[in-house]
């Protein structure tokens, strides 16, 4: 049995313009000690699905799922009180903005000790010793003196380390890191990722990494979920994903990596993730897909061996009787949608 098992998770929000489906039938399975990544652009519902798991969504959110189990406990039916015993202890989550995610009115030490006290208890002395140990573990120099520091007295990178220390304080079995490096300098990013990986190995935690950075994925993850507009479009292990991307979106994401660029211009995916008001019919990716056909524009695709596409790619070419590949002129059509009016280079967004 997996540590975490999510089947067919959907999250809907009630808005002034109707129901908005931020997460659409997402699956996730992760075992003890495994590392999975969820990849996608901003607005693809990566964070929302994990926040739903944590129970951190506002009450306007409607969460449905066939199954949402953690360690044999059903998180769908669990009471708030029971959930609070798991959250912060067995499952914990690190957020994107370290500077605003720590309470400005309390010392770093207080905020770390608080979570230990809540879940494990202990005397003040024990808590303090543990907090110092944790701060050392996440690589904060002179942890004893930092205990009494306030978040605003430290840099973003340091604050993110504090955040990590706080979230691993109770030895969680699953750690969710929601874009933990996005708000940080590039040099710090690598350090934080290394720290996370290191902790994961040493402690045998399961780690879910939410990111929009394919480069980060390549370095860290084992299994990758690619998410687009709330839907899970592809799920593969990392080696296969990079070698043989099957969904046009994954393919486009990978092409947008600077390392993979062949021409002078960095390829980009034109357009943005559809929001509430501009949701297309058929496949949600069709307006931005270079291989889109009339079928894509009319019928939503079904899951084809873990790929949500009518024409899964093989070696960058659509299969399954794609009208474009039957003839030799396919490449012309394929490139027509690309780069013509690239608004947002995904690589540049990273």
């Amino acid at each position: 049995m997996s540590l975490l098992e999510i089947r067919n998770l959907s999250v809907e929000f009630e808005t002034a313009h109707g129901l908005f489906r931020a997460v659409d039938s997402v699956d996730l399975e992760i075992d003890q000690g495994e590392m999975a990544a969820i990849v996608g652009e901003s607005g693809s519902g990566k964070s929302v699905s994990m926040l739903a798991l944590m129970g951190l969504l506002p009450w306007t959110a409607r969460i449905t799922a066939d199954r949402m189990n953690f360690d044999g406990k059903d998180l769908l039916t669990i009471s708030q009180k029971e959930r609070r015993k798991i959250i912060g202890k067995d499952i914990s989550m690190i957020f994107q903005e370290p500077m605003t995610s720590l309470n400005p009115c309390f010392t770093v030490g207080y905020q770390i000790m608080e979570v230990i006290k809540e879940h494990l208890g202990g005397t003040r002395k024990e808590l303090e010793a543990r907090a110092i140990e944790l701060l050392g573990l996440v690589g904060i120099p002179a942890p004893e003196s930092r205990l009494r520091a306030f978040p605003h007295q430290m840099s973003g990178g340091m604050n993110q380390r504090v955040m990590i220390a706080m979230m691993i304080a109770c030895n969680p079995r699953l750690l969710i890191a929601d874009e933990p490096t996005t708000a940080l300098d590039v040099t710090i990013q690598a350090q934080i990722l290394e720290l996370l990986q290191d902790l994961q190995h040493k402690r045998g935690m399961a780690l879910v990494l939410i990111t929009h950075d394919m480069g980060v994925v390549a370095e860290t993850a084992e299994v990758v979920n690619v998410q687009y507009a709330g839907q899970q479009v592809e799920r593969q292990n990392v080696v296969d994903l990079f070698a043989k991307p099957q969904h046009p979106y994954t393919y486009a994401l990978l092409s947008a990596l600077p390392e993979r660029a062949t021409g002078k211009r960095l390829p980009s995916i034109p357009g943005v993730v559809p929001g509430l008001l501009d949701r297309p019919t058929g496949c949600l990716f069709n307006p931005r897909c270079q291989f889109a056909t009339d079928k894509c524009r009319s019928t939503p695709p079904a899951l084809h061996s873990k790929v949500l596409c009518h024409y899964p790619l093989v070696d960058g070419k659509p299969t399954n009787n794609h009208p474009g590949v039957s003839g030799p002129g396919s490449s012309g059509q394929g490139s027509s949608g690309q780069g013509s009016s690239g608004q947002e280079a995904l690589g540049g967004n990273v």
């Binding site: 959250i87 914990s92 957020f95 995610s101 400005p104 979570v115 809540e118």
Partner: protein, 339 residues
């Protein structure tokens, strides 16, 4: 921190001088003649008039009068009240505890109700409770408190209605309580009279409600909006992700941040309270400085008005300074910038 306070105090000096100048010129602009006021019905000969004017210092040039007024302030001498022939400073401090007692009770009452109400309204945003509470607090904010006092007297003190509370004064005339601290609640406890404390407390109820109504409304509204903003902050989500109880999240993590705003708001109510004290004390014949000022103004008690303005304005300024100081103390981001 000490330097911070000193700088702030330094900034207050020109304002304080301004207040003295305003108070000084105000009473010299008052229509009428101080000597004739003193004399009342009796007629005063011109010689005697000039003599009295000289005795009061009104014969000197204005700048000299102002200067001696300032020198007097430095020596703690604010002149002598016409009506009581007592030093103004003494007059003031005889009545001051009554006002402090009333104002303190009012602000405690306002905070005790306004703060939790604002917090709950923010947590249950959009609920019936929220709407009701905001309606009540806007009504409180719009309340003409002099009428509110009369209405409460009708409801609570009128023998036809509830007949629960006394109508005026600080304590029933049946008791004789020695003045130890000037605070009737404390003095009545110290005295041996049975029931004195009860009587003093009963006399405080209505004035406290009347004076506390507007601050209560303001505190509730401000607490709500501060909490609403803070409950959306990232660190509140972090607190939830730590698996803390809602009580801890709202009562510790959010409230601690909201208090920075709310304490400032409470502190800024001092001016409102003192203005309200004038009305409240008038309605309930409360022997405090508000009533004293009203009486002094209508009696044209020149030096009492002059001294009263200076003293009251000084209190407002000092409390505002204290609020500044508190703001620095409870907001770590400011505290550490200075050290």
């Amino acid at each position: 921190m000490i330097r911070f306070i000193l700088t702030k105090l330094g900034l207050l000096i020109p304002t304080f001088l301004g207040v003295t100048l305003v108070a000084f010129s105000f009473i010299r602009m008052l229509p009428g003649d101080p000597v004739e006021l003193l004399a009342g019905e009796r007629s005063v000969s011109p010689e005697r008039h000039a003599e009295l004017m000289a005795a009061l210092g009104f014969d000197k040039p204005l700048w000299e009068q102002y200067f001696s007024f300032l020198v007097g302030i430095l020596h703690g001498d604010l002149g002598t009240s016409f009506s009581s022939k007592q030093p103004v400073l003494e007059e003031f401090f005889v009545r001051f505890p009554a006002t402090i007692e009333l104002a303190t009770c009012a602000i405690i009452f306002a905070a005790l109700i306004g703060l939790p109400a604002g917090i709950v309204a923010a947590v249950k945003r959009g609920s019936a409770f929220d709407h009701t509470l905001m309606g009540i607090s806007l009504t409180g904010y719009s309340m003409p408190i002099f009428w509110w006092g009369l209405l409460l007297i009708i409801l609570f003190s009128s023998p036809d209605m509830l007949g629960l509370t006394p109508v005026s004064g600080r304590i029933s005339a049946l008791f004789w309580v020695d003045t130890e601290t000037g605070f009737m609640l404390i003095d009545s406890l110290l005295s041996d009279e049975k029931g004195a404390f009860r009587s003093a407390a009963a006399h405080l109820v209505l004035p406290t409600i009347v004076l506390g109504t507007i601050p209560m409304a303001i505190i509730a509204r401000q607490t709500r909006s501060a909490m609403l903003e803070i409950l959306g902050e990232d660190y509140v989500r972090t607190a939830k992700a730590k698996g803390l109880s809602p009580f801890r999240i709202v009562g510790i993590h959010a409230l601690r941040n909201a208090l920075i705003t709310v304490i400032t708001v409470i502190g800024l109510q001092v001016g409102v309270l003192l203005a309200g004290a004038i009305l409240t004390e008038t309605i309930f014949s409360w022997p405090g400085i508000g009533k004293w000022m009203i009486d002094s103004i209508s009696r044209r008690d020149y030096f009492a008005v002059q001294g009263g303005i200076v003293l009251i304005a000084s209190i407002v300024m000092l409390v505002n300074l204290l609020v500044d100081f508190m703001y620095g103390l409870i907001n770590p981001r400011i505290l550490h910038r200075r050290s």
